[in-house]
Each structure stands twice: as structure tokens, then as C-alpha cells.
């Protein structure tokens, strides 16, 4: 029963937090652009509006299925995340499971876009997969380093280790280079400039989203909430000591997302090949160095 409640509540909390993160993203962006930005409930309005569309275009079964994968993947991921006060399946799953689950939405998206027959979408999705390939390398290095440091892949365990040891045992303190490399990879995972190659409105007209309308688009908006939250929580779990309690936990998640969404506004986007090279050069290099240090310990 408790699990059932968690399965319902954890994604719900994730979604609500995600809405706040989206709002923050848009407000920060507006601020840097010297303007006011959207009202408080804007993310909600957008999603409700999209789901309330009266006509709807679908591109076939695969298209519909992709949405299920997309949201399903993230909802599942939320249950595996260790958050304060909820157990979910965090105990049962581990880091690797989570990483795998987090790939599902992207693959789902690829599936759906493939059925839209829009070249822009196809280019976008191939770029997205390329980008995934690019940031997964430093991320993998960072995760390997982290698991080696903590000696476990169990997320609950990782959180417990850090919380018991206090701030000195936080990943960011014990393995700073891995944390930096990991953060750069996370920035890539957010898909923000300079790594925003698969949306790229001016180049490929928002890529995967080009044919998405109404409820599909709404689903993508929800996915964005989950994405910000999930990635933020993952980083907090690995390097920032997880959540002791909700307020602190949310602050940490928000901080992770904030840095990313703030910095993104002052860069343009790299070309695809440059993203791969950059990801494999800097974050990977830093992370490898960090890994070496960890192994040397």
C-alpha cells in the first residue's frame, strides 16, 4: 500500500517540482534578457492548454506509443529516485537501472519522430542520439568514479553515506574533478546551449518537436518538467549529499538546475561535431582525471 502511494506521489511531486523548475528556467532567462518573464502559473497554463486542444493530429501507432514510452520512462525513473520521506523502489533499483530507464524517453521520442516523416524531426533525433552519445561518456566516467568512491551502486546507500559523513563526504568534496566533469555532462543532458543541438529552432525548427501538437506537445512539456527534476536529483544524489529533508533537497536540486539554465543564456550552440569533440575532450578529460585520482586513493 505504501508502495502504491509512493508510485503515485513520487511522480506527482516530481512533476510539481518540475513545474517550478520550468518556471525558474523561464524567469531566469527573462531576467538575463532584460525582461520580466512569464507569470507564476505559466507552466501549468501551457500544459493544460495543450491538453485542451480540440483537434489533434497523430502520425500513427508508433507516434502514440512514443508518448507512452516518453512519459512512462520518466514516471518510472521518478520512483527509482531516492527522495526524502519516500521509499519507492530506490532501494530495489540502483544507479545503473536508473540510467537505463532515463534513456527510455529519448528512445521513445526517436520512435515517435521517426513516424512523422519530417526531415527536420529526423535530423533532430539523430542529433539527439549523437548528443546522448557525447554526454554519456563523461557521465559514465563520473558514475564509475562515484560508484568506486561510494563502493555501491545503490542510490539509497550513496545518499546515506554522504549524509552520515556530513558535507566533507559529499561527492563534490571527495571527488571534485568528477563532480565538475559530471556537471558538464549534466548540462549536456539538459540539452541547453551550447549543447542545444537537437532542438535548434533556427536550424531544424525544433527538431523532434516539429510535428508534435496538442497532447503530444503537452506530453513533451511534462517531460521537460520531469527531465529537469530527474537530472537535478541524480546530480544531487551523486555529488551533493542527497536530500536530508524536503526544503534542503529542493534547494539543492534548484541550485543544480539554476546554474545550468542561467549559464545557457550566454552561449550559442556548438555544431554537432563540436559538441561531441568538446564533450569527449573537456568533461571526459576532467572526469578521467578525477577517476584516476579516485583510483589512486
Amino acid at each position: 500500500m505504501r508502495l502504491l502511494a509512493d508510485i503515485v506521489l513520487m511522480p506527482l511531486i516530481a512533476f510539481i517540482t518540475g513545474l517550478f523548475l520550468v518556471l525558474m528556467y523561464r524567469r531566469v532567462r527573462a531576467k538575463i534578457e532584460r525582461r520580466v518573464g512569464p507569470p507564476f502559473f505559466q507552466p501549468v497554463y501551457d500544459i493544460v492548454k495543450l491538453f485542451a486542444k480540440k483537434t489533434q493530429i497523430s502520425h500513427g501507432v508508433m507516434h502514440d506509443l512514443s508518448i507512452v514510452l516518453l512519459l512512462g520512462g520518466y514516471i518510472t525513473a521518478e520512483i527509482f529516485l531516492p527522495v526524502p520521506g519516500f521509499k519507492g523502489l530506490a532501494e530495489e533499483g540502483d544507479l545503473l537501472t536508473l540510467i537505463y530507464i532515463m534513456m527510455v524517453p529519448m528512445l521513445g521520442l526517436a520512435l515517435g519522430v521517426g513516424s512523422c516523416a519530417n526531415p527536420n524531426g529526423s535530423i533532430g533525433i539523430s542529433r539527439a542520439l549523437t548528443a546522448m552519445l557525447a554526454y554519456d561518456v563523461p557521465l559514465a566516467v563520473a558514475i564509475i568514479g562515484a560508484t568506486m568512491t561510494y563502493g555501491t551502486t545503490n542510490l539509497v546507500e550513496i545518499v546515506r553515506i554522504q549524509q552520515e559523513g556530513g558535507m566533507a563526504t559529499w561527492g563534490i568534496a571527495t571527488m571534485p574533478l568528477l563532480a565538475i566533469g559530471g556537471y558538464l555532462a549534466v548540462h549536456g543532458m539538459f540539452g541547453k546551449e551550447p549543447f542545444e543541438i537537437y532542438i535548434a529552432p533556427a536550424e531544424i525548427a525544433t527538431g523532434p518537436m516539429v510535428e508534435m501538437s496538442g497532447k503530444y506537445m503537452g506530453a513533451l512539456f511534462i517531460m521537460q518538467c520531469f527531465q529537469l527534476y530527474t537530472i537535478g536529483v541524480l546530480y544531487v544524489t551523486l555529488f551533493l549529499g542527497g536530500g536530508e529533508n524536503w526544503p534542503l533537497f529542493l534547494i539543492k536540486v534548484a541550485a543544480v538546475v539554476f546554474i545550468s539554465v542561467a549559464v545557457t543564456n550566454v552561449y550559442g550552440r556548438y555544431r554537432t561535431d563540436k559538441v561531441v569533440r568538446w564533450m569527449w575532450k573537456w568533461p571526459t578529460g576532467i572526469a578521467l582525471l578525477g577517476l584516476a585520482l579516485v583510483m589512486a586513493k
Binding site: D46, I57, N118, T206
Partner: protein
């Protein structure tokens, strides 16, 4: 311009657009809905009015005042208005002034690809009665003959504050459930198609199956089909639909989803 039907196109009597300044266009079934439906619809309208995506399509010169409107000085995101890239994602189609006939085709295509509820705003003189280019062979003269238009705004071109006001007025109309002009495209498709055919010839066709959508979504009216839509069928029906290649747009087409 070959064999264009030269009949004068009078809007059919079952007009769902009563018009009148400030009246907007209430949905025809507004009074017959259940209370629950009404609450839901009001909530949806409330959100719709506060989240409007504008199609990023610079159709004419008025587009030069859009960047200021959207950007920092007149920041329309304050009321939830953001530019969106493709017709699929967009709610508002801004017709920023004159439309050359070549663009008009793309506009109609984009409009049909947008998902309802959708709104069309006509900028400036050119969309009302030809404007500056009234004697030009290359531009259309009256926007509301080709696609249903929610609001017009005076100006050549309207300045950002004026654009702001038209958007605010649209928000007000949506909030009050009055902005339903888009349904008229389904209900009186024959009227719009006839005018389109008059410009583009009897062979004019679009990839979107408007009649099918009208049936599917329950917007089929007595004016949906008529002498002009028959030409579509005579031309071979869906088989004659134009290849996307000839009329490019960012969005393609898809099937109706229930």
C-alpha cells in the same frame, strides 16, 4: 489563374460569425452544454487565454514590429505569449500585413496544419481591404475571405503597443469563450475554399482533409460542403492532394486523432 470559378462568393446564411464590434464569436452550442462541461470549458478557456503560442512566420512587413513586441521592451511573455516554430505547436497565426499570393498559399497550409482552437490576427490595412497594395496584382486584398480572422488591428504597420492591445483583446475574447472563429473554417469550408480556388484555380488543393476533420470533430455544418468542395472530389479527391514538396512548410501532415 486558369478556369477560375468567377462566381461571387456570398457567405452562406448559416453564418456562425455574428460579428459586431466586441461581440466576438461565441460557440454555437454555448447554451446547451452541461454544467460540468461548462466548468471544464471555462477552465480550459482560462488556461488557453493565458498560454498562447505565436507561429513564427514573418508573412509580411508588419513582422518587423514583432521582435520588439516579443522582446524585452514590450515582453509579451508576461501574459504567456511566446513565439513557436511550427504550425503544429502554434495557437496564433499572425498575418503581419499584406500577403502575396505565393505566401497566401503557405499561410492557408500553415493554418490548416494548426490545431484548434486556433486564432488568426490580421495586421493593418492590407489584411482588411488591400491597404497600400490595393492595386497590386501580387497581393491578396481581404484576409477574411480565405481564412477566418478573429481580430483585425488598424495601422500600417501597427506599433508594438497596438500589437499588445490586439493580443490582450484576443486573450479577453478567449477567456470569455468568444474566440471561435476557427470553427467557421470547418462549418463554412466551401466558402473559404471557393475564394481560394478563385485565386489559385480550380485545381487548388491542400494536404489537409478539412471535410474529414470537420466530420470527425463534429464541426460539420451545412456550409462545409458545396459546389467548390465538389471540385476537390472531381479532381480525384485525396489522390490529387498536393505533394508537400510543392508547398513547403515546416510541418507536414498527419492523421486525425480521436
Amino acid at each position: 489563374m486558369t478556369d477560375k470559378p468567377l462566381k461571387s462568393h456570398v457567405r452562406p446564411p448559416q453564418d456562425t460569425m455574428p460579428g459586431g464590434a466586441g461581440q466576438g464569436c461565441p460557440a454555437p452550442d454555448a447554451q446547451t452544454r452541461s454544467i460540468w462541461r461548462r466548468i471544464m470549458d471555462d477552465f480550459a478557456d482560462h488556461c488557453r487565454a493565458r498560454s498562447l503560442f505565436v507561429l513564427h512566420y514573418c508573412t509580411g512587413c508588419g513582422a518587423i514590429e514583432l521582435p520588439p513586441t516579443i522582446t524585452s521592451r514590450f515582453d509579451m511573455e508576461r501574459v504567456g505569449i511566446t513565439p513557436m516554430v511550427t504550425p503544429r505547436q502554434a495557437d496564433i497565426l499572425l498575418i503581419t500585413g499584406y500577403l502575396s499570393l505565393k505566401t497566401l498559399k503557405r499561410v492557408i497550409l500553415s493554418y490548416e496544419q494548426m490545431q484548434g482552437p486556433k486564432y488568426v490576427l490580421g495586421f493593418g490595412s492590407c489584411t482588411i481591404n488591400g491597404g497600400m497594395y490595393w492595386n497590386s496584382y501580387a497581393t491578396m486584398k481581404r484576409l477574411d475571405q480565405y481564412i477566418p480572422t478573429d481580430l483585425f488591428i488598424a495601422g500600417c504597420m501597427p506599433r508594438p503597443e497596438a500589437v499588445q492591445q490586439v493580443l490582450l483583446k484576443l486573450i479577453e475574447d478567449i477567456d470569455a469563450g468568444r474566440a471561435n472563429a476557427w470553427q467557421d473554417y470547418y462549418r463554412n469550408y466551401d466558402f473559404y475554399l471557393g475564394n481560394q480556388q478563385r485565386l489559385f484555380g480550380a485545381g487548388w488543393n491542400t494536404p489537409t482533409d478539412v471535410i474529414g476533420e470537420a466530420r470527425h470533430y463534429g464541426y460539420y455544418g451545412p456550409g462545409t460542403e458545396g459546389e467548390h468542395t465538389r471540385l476537390l472530389a472531381e479532381g480525384g479527391g485525396s489522390a490529387a492532394r498536393l505533394a508537400h514538396a510543392e508547398y513547403p512548410s515546416t510541418a507536414l501532415t498527419g492523421r486525425i486523432k480521436s
